[in-house]
């Protein structure tokens, strides 16, 4: 594993902050909307995979019989 270049991490963080500071509140709210949509779809995806895994487990259990 390569060592973390903390200087570059800080540089990236500063650049992100500078970009963010130049955004209007309206633009930032649009970002919040997008973040929320993304979180929702990730959760839904995770929930679907759990359901699919559960179904697979239970049906494979009955098939054995």
């Amino acid at each position: 594993m390569s060592p973390v270049d903390w200087k570059s991490v800080k540089r990236d963080k500063d650049a992100l902050h500078a970009r963010s500071a130049s955004r209007s509140y309206g633009e930032k709210l649009t970002l919040l909307d997008r973040m929320r949509e993304r979180t929702k779809s990730i959760r839904q995806g995770a929930s679907h995979s759990r359901t699919a895994a559960f179904k697979k487990k239970t049906t494979s259990g009955t098939r054995k019989k």
């Binding site: 509140y25 930032k28 709210l29």
Partner: protein, 174 residues
């Protein structure tokens, strides 16, 4: 329904006299001053006209108003479009002061009201949950606070010792 629709509905809530005054706090307000951080809900602090909080459930008129406009209740929130909104009476002294000093903000023609950065930081310090500490640390690092104003708030609400402890733990270089 996007967060702008929530802002519009909040503005109508005050205009129609359901609440005397409202302001947004929490992460949605903090986003005005810092880089956006993902959040689950919108925290709205409210005050009522004198005598209007005498009922057992002061939030009932707000819920009735919003449900009639398509919102739905869910746990301790009312969901407007996609966004769960939590209404919190600004009763504690720091919250009441934050509501009093909240600033108006225009978002594409919608006027909303937000807690100031300094009050958000003081509330975060007072609450002290992990997410509050992160927010406070971010505000300090991004230099969005007027430290003179912030210091006066800390003094008024006896938060000086807490601030000293926070600074020592999280802000001073090891």
């Amino acid at each position: 329904m996007a967060i702008r629709d929530v802002l519009a509905l909040l503005s109508e809530l005050e205009r129609d006299g359901i609440v005397a005054r409202y302001a947004i706090g929490g992460a949605v307000a903090a986003t005005r001053y810092t880089s956006p951080a993902a959040t689950e809900d919108v925290d709205v602090f409210i005050s009522f006209a004198d005598g209007a909080t005498s009922g057992l459930d002061p939030l009932r008129p707000i819920y009735a108003y919003l449900l009639a406009r398509g919102a739905r209740p869910e746990g301790g929130h009312v969901v407007i479009g996609d966004w769960p909104v939590q209404f919190l009476p600004a009763e504690r002294p720091l919250l009441a002061e934050a509501l009093h000093h909240a600033v108006e903000q225009d978002v594409d023609g919608i006027t909303t009201r937000l807690f100031t950065a300094e009050h958000l930081a003081a509330i975060a310090l007072q609450l002290g949950r992990p997410k509050d500490k992160l927010r406070l640390e971010q505000m300090v690092r991004e230099q969005v606070l007027d430290m003179k104003v912030f210091g006066a708030i800390l003094e008024r609400h006896d938060l000086g010792p807490k601030w000293k402890d926070f600074s020592r733990r999280y802000l001073e270089a090891p």
